[in-house]
C-alpha cells in the first residue's frame, strides 16, 4: 500500500525533475537570431568578458521608466546621457559637446556629437533628444519629469542641435536633462503606443558601448560590445568582448564570488568593514569615489520642542561627527562642515562653513535656554543600512552625555519609507544618494511643499534664495544665494549634514583602465569606464 503511494510520488517527482531540466537546458544558439537587434557591428577585439556582481535584477529595461540602480547600470550602457560628471562634481560633455542659455533664460540649446549611431545603423540625432524629452513631458515619465517643470518645447534645428523653449529661467534645466535623461531611439520607442508601457525587453538597440543580448532573470544580463563608441579610452569602441552582470543576494556573497574568481568587479559599494578587509587582498584593487549626496539627521519641526532652534542646535552639538566618520565609517567619509553644499561639488563649496562642535555642555546650555528638560526623542532609520544602524547607537550614547534620551527605532525599509513620508518621526536618520543640482534640488528639500522636506522647513528667506538661485543662469550668479541658503540651513539646523561617504569598489587585478566617477550610480560601471577596461598585462 505504502509502496504504491510512494512509487506514484517518485514517478511524479522524477517526471517533474526531467521536465524542469529540459526547460532549463539552453538550446544551441541560432546564428540568425542572437537577441540583439539588427546588424550591430560587434566590437571587442578578443578583449574577454568582464563579470560584474550586482545585488538586484533589472526590473525595467525602459530607461525612461526604470529607476533602480541595476536598471541604470545596464541601460546606461545602451542609452547615452548628454553629460557626465567629473571628479569635482561638474557636468562635462558626453553625447553633448556644448550647451548654453539665451540671455533672457527663456531659451536654451545643446549641440551634440556627430559621430554617434544606434547599433542598428541608424544615426543618433537631435530628433531622438526631442522625442525623448517630449515623451517624458507628455507621459510624466520617471525621475526626469520632475526636473523639467520649466520645459515648454524643443526643436531639432539640425541633426546635432536642439533648441529649447522654457516657460521661466531655470539654471539647472540643461544640467538636469543632460545628466539624468537617457536618450532613446525614436525609431524604436516611437513605435510603441505609449512609451510608459513599452517594456523594451527584447531586440535592444544601443548607442552606448554595449548592447544587451541575453537576459536570464535572477542570474545574468549579457551585453555584447558594439564597435564605434567614441567616448572610451579608444574611440573605436570597447576593448572588452562583453560585459555580464551577475546577480547575487548581497555584498558579502559578491565578495566571495570576487575572491573565488567567479566575478571580476563588484558594482555595489562595499560597507566599510568589508572595504577594509578587501583592501588588504593582493589580488584585488579598490577604487574610492565620493557620494553625490550626504548622510544626515533631520529634526521634525512640526513637533515641539523641535520647533525651537535652540533644541535643534543642542541636538547638533551632542554628536561627535569625527568619531562617527573614523570609527563607524573607518575613515571612508569626509566632513561637509555641516553644510548642504558638500565638498564633492567644488564649484559650490563655502570655505567659511564650520562643522558643529561636539560639546555636551553647550547642548545642556542650549536646552536650558529653550526651557526644555528631560528631552526624550525617537530616531527612525532603515535597519538594513549597516552604516546608519551603527552610528545611530553612537548618536544615542553621545546624546545621553548631554542629558538627551534618544530611543532608536531601526525599521524595515518600507516601514521606514512610509513613516518618513507620513512625517511620523522625531528624528530621521538617513542619506541622500544624489543631490547634484542644488539650484533645483534644494526646492525638494527645503520648500514648504518639497517632497523630501521631511523636517518641515518653512522659511520665507530660504524660499527667496531658492528662487534667486534657480533662476541664475551661471554658476557665479547662483553661488551667492546658494551659499547664503546653506548658511541658514546650518544655523537653523534644518538639515544636520554629518558626512559625505567615500564609496569603495573592488575589482580583480586582472583588469585595468577603469575610470571611476562619483556616486554608486556611476562608480566604475559607467559607460566610459567599461568602454576603457582591458586585461592587465
Amino acid at each position: 500500500m505504502s509502496t504504491s503511494r510512494g512509487f506514484g510520488r517518485r514517478v511524479a517527482l522524477g517526471a517533474a525533475l526531467v521536465l524542469a531540466l529540459a526547460a532549463c537546458v539552453p538550446s544551441e544558439p541560432d546564428e540568425s537570431s542572437d537577441g540583439a537587434s539588427g546588424d550591430a557591428s560587434e566590437g571587442g577585439d578578443g578583449g574577454g568578458e568582464l563579470s560584474i556582481g550586482t545585488t538586484a535584477d533589472v526590473v525595467n529595461f525602459n530607461p525612461l521608466v526604470g529607476n533602480s540602480r541595476t536598471d541604470s547600470w545596464v541601460t546606461n550602457l545602451m542609452y547615452p546621457a548628454m553629460m557626465t560628471i567629473d571628479d569635482e562634481g561638474t557636468k562635462v560633455p558626453a553625447l553633448a559637446t556644448e550647451w548654453g542659455y539665451g540671455e533672457d533664460g527663456l531659451s536654451a540649446w545643446i549641440e551634440l556629437r556627430d559621430d554617434m549611431q544606434w547599433s542598428d545603423g541608424e544615426p543618433l540625432t537631435a530628433e531622438d533628444v526631442v522625442f525623448t524629452i517630449d515623451a517624458i513631458k507628455a507621459e510624466q515619465l520617471g525621475t526626469v519629469s520632475g526636473m523639467i517643470g520649466a520645459y515648454e518645447s524643443a526643436v531639432a534645428a539640425s541633426d546635432t542641435r536642439i533648441e529649447f523653449t522654457l516657460s521661466r529661467p531655470d539654471g539647472a534645466f540643461l544640467n538636469s536633462i543632460g545628466f539624468w535623461m537617457p536618450i532613446v531611439p525614436e525609431h524604436v520607442f516611437g513605435q510603441a503606443p505609449t512609451v510608459a508601457d513599452f517594456a523594451n525587453d527584447s531586440d535592444w538597440v544601443s548607442a552606448g558601448p554595449f548592447v544587451l543580448t541575453t537576459v536570464e532573470r535572477g542570474q545574468r544580463y549579457v551585453l555584447e560590445a558594439v564597435d564605434g563608441y567614441p567616448l572610451g579610452e579608444d574611440d573605436s569602441g570597447p576593448a572588452l568582448d562583453r560585459v555580464v552582470f551577475r546577480v547575487y543576494p548581497d555584498v558579502n556573497t559578491e565578495v566571495l564570488a570576487l575572491r573565488s574568481g567567479e566575478i571580476d568587479l563588484i558594482g555595489n559599494a562595499l560597507p566599510p568593514s568589508v572595504a577594509r578587509d578587501v583592501s588588504g587582498d593582493d589580488e584585488l584593487q579598490t577604487f574610492s569615489v565620493p557620494s553625490l549626496g550626504w548622510a544626515h539627521m533631520q529634526y521634525n519641526m512640526r513637533r515641539p520642542p523641535l520647533d525651537q532652534v535652540e533644541v535643534r542646535q543642542a541636538l547638533a552639538h551632542a554628536v561627535d561627527y569625527e568619531a562617527i566618520r573614523e570609527v563607524v565609517l573607518g575613515g571612508n567619509a569626509v566632513s561637509s562642515n555641516s553644510s548642504v553644499l558638500t565638498p564633492t561639488f567644488a564649484q559650490w563649496v563655502d570655505d567659511t562653513a564650520e562643522e558643529y562642535t561636539y560639546d555636551p555642555d553647550l547642548s545642556r546650555d542650549l536646552l536650558a535656554q529653550a526651557g526644555v528638560e528631560n528631552l526624550e526623542l525617537e530616531m527612525i532609520y532603515d535597519a538594513g543600512d549597516p552604516n546608519i544602524s551603527s552610528w545611530a547607537e553612537l548618536v544615542r550614547d553621545q546624546a545621553a552625555e548631554a542629558g538627551i534620551t534618544i530611543t532608536l527605532a531601526g525599521l524595515e525599509r518600507n516601514t521606514y519609507l512610509a513613516r518618513t513620508n507620513d512625517r511620523d518621526f522625531d528624528i530621521y536618520a538617513g542619506s541622500w544618494a544624489i543631490i547634484d543640482e542644488p539650484q533645483s534640488n534644494f526646492h525638494l528639500l527645503f520648500a514648504p511643499d518639497g517632497f523630501i522636506n521631511y523636517a518641515g522647513v518653512n522659511d520665507p528667506e530660504i524660499d527667496r534664495l531658492m528662487v534667486e538661485a534657480s533662476t541664475a543662469l551661471t554658476v557665479e550668479d547662483a553661488r551667492g544665494p546658494l551659499q547664503e541658503l546653506a548658511r541658514i540651513v546650518t544655523e537653523q539646523v534644518y538639515d544636520n549634514v554629518m558626512y559625505v561617504e567615500q564609496f569603495t569598489f573592488a575589482a580583480s587585478n586582472e583588469w585595468t583602465g577603469f575610470q571611476p566617477k562619483p556616486s554608486e550610480l556611476l562608480s566604475v560601471v559607467n559607460p566610459q569606464s567599461l568602454a576603457s577596461v582591458r586585461a592587465a598585462d
Binding site: 503511494r5 537546458v25 568578458e49 526590473v59 535572477g218 556573497t253 566571495l256 523630501i452
Partner: protein, 320 residues
C-alpha cells in the same frame, strides 16, 4: 462511481485549499508595511505622479473591489502584471519555476535516498554508537538555520576549496551534456543545504517506526519461521514503518518549498523563492501573489495527483 466521487471530493477539497491560500495571500501582502508607490517613486516625482502610480496599479480602489477583481482575473488564468517589471506575472514565474522544481525535486530525492537507509541503519543498530551518531546528526540538522548552513557551505566548498560556484544555476554558453553538468555543479550546494535541514526528520521518523515495527508479532513470527534478520527488516518491518514516512513527505513538501525561498536567496539561485524575496522588498504585490499561488498550487496538485493515484490503486481508500 466510487472513484468519480472520490476524485470529485478531492478536487473540491483542493479548490477550497487553493481559494483559502489565494485569499490569505491577497490580504497578507496588503498588510505589509509601506506603499508600493513609495517603493517605486523617486524624490523628484510630485504627489500627483505618485497617486497616478497607485491608480495605475488599481490600488486606489476599495480592498473588496481589488479582491473580487483579482479573483475574477485569476479564474481566467491572469495573474496580473508586475508592478516593477511591467511584464505579465506568469512570464516572470514561468521563467523561474523550472529552477525551483529542479532544486526542491532533487533535494527531496536525495533526502529520501540518503535518509531512508540511515534510518534503517539507526534502527537496526539501536543503542549502539552508529545509532547515536545518526540520531545526534539528525537532531543537529533539524536545529540548524538555513543561512548558517548555506554560508558555511559557501565558504567551505565555494571559496576555500573552490569546488562549486558561489551563485547562479548554470554557466554561460554551455549546451547539451555540458549544460547538464553545469546545472548539476550549481545545484550541489543549495541542494545539500536543503538536504541537511530536512534529512533529520526522515531519519528519526523512520528509525522510531522501524524499531516499533521490529517489535511487532509478525516480525517475531517471521524470525520464528527462520527468516534471516535482513529479510525481516527490509521485507516485513520496513514496509509498515514507511507508512508514516510517506505521510511525512507530504508534510515536508510545504516546508521544502518554504526553505527554498531562503536557500535560493543565499545561493543566488534564480527560482520562484528568490522572486518572492525580491518582491517583498519591492512591494510587488502581483508577483508575490502569483508566486504564492503557484507554490500553493504545486503542493496541492502534487498531493491531489498522488491521492488519485492512490485511490486508483487501493479500493479501500475510495471507500473511505
Amino acid at each position: 462511481m466510487a472513484l468519480l466521487r472520490f476524485t470529485s471530493l478531492r478536487v473540491l477539497r483542493c479548490l477550497l485549499t487553493l481559494w483559502f491560500a489565494v485569499s490569505v495571500t491577497f490580504f497578507v501582502v496588503r498588510l505589509l508595511p509601506g506603499d508600493p508607490a513609495l517603493a517605486i517613486a523617486s524624490p523628484t516625482m510630485d504627489e500627483a505622479q505618485r497617486q497616478q502610480i497607485l491608480a495605475d496599479f488599481g490600488l486606489d480602489r476599495p480592498l473588496a473591489v481589488q479582491y473580487v477583481t483579482y479573483l475574477g482575473e485569476l479564474l481566467q488564468g491572469n495573474l496580473g502584471v508586475s508592478f516593477r517589471q511591467s511584464v505579465p506575472v506568469s512570464e516572470v514565474l514561468l521563467e523561474r519555476l523550472p529552477w525551483t522544481l529542479i532544486l526542491t525535486g532533487s533535494a527531496l530525492l536525495l533526502t529520501l535516498v540518503i535518509g531512508l537507509p540511515l534510518g534503517v541503519l539507526a534502527a537496526t543498530h539501536r543503542g549502539g554508537a552508529l545509532d547515536r551518531v545518526i540520531q545526534v546528526g539528525g537532531v543537529v540538522g533539524q536545529s540548524l538555520f538555513v543561512p548558517t548552513v548555506g554560508i558555511a557551505l559557501l565558504y567551505t566548498f565555494g571559496l576555500w576549496l573552490g569546488w562549486f560556484p558561489i551563485g547562479g544555476a548554470i554557466d554561460d554558453d554551455v549546451y547539451g551534456l555540458e549544460a547538464y553538468a553545469s546545472i548539476a555543479r550549481h545545484l550541489v550546494l543549495p541542494c545539500l543545504s536543503l538536504v541537511v535541514l530536512q534529512i533529520g526528520a526522515y531519519v528519526l521518523t523512520l528509525r522510531t517506526n522501524l524499531i516499533d515495527a521490529l517489535g511487532e508479532e509478525y516480525c517475531t513470527v517471521a524470525r520464528a519461521k527462520g527468516a534471516p534478520e535482513r529479510r525481516v527488516v527490509w521485507k516485513h518491518a520496513l514496509r509498515n514503518a514507511l507508512l508514516p514516512t510517506t505521510t511525512l513527505v507530504g508534510l515536508q513538501l510545504g516546508l521544502l518549498v518554504g526553505g527554498a525561498v531562503l536557500t535560493e536567496t543565499i545561493f543566488a539561485y534564480p527560482g520562484v523563492g528568490r522572486a518572492i524575496y525580491e518582491s517583498v522588498g519591492q512591494l510587488d504585490f502581483p508577483v508575490l501573489q502569483g508566486a504564492f499561488v503557484l507554490l500553493a498550487a504545486a503542493v496541492v496538485v502534487a498531493n491531489l495527483l498522488t491521492d488519485i493515484a492512490y485511490g486508483l490503486l487501493d479500493p479501500r481508500v475510495r471507500a473511505a
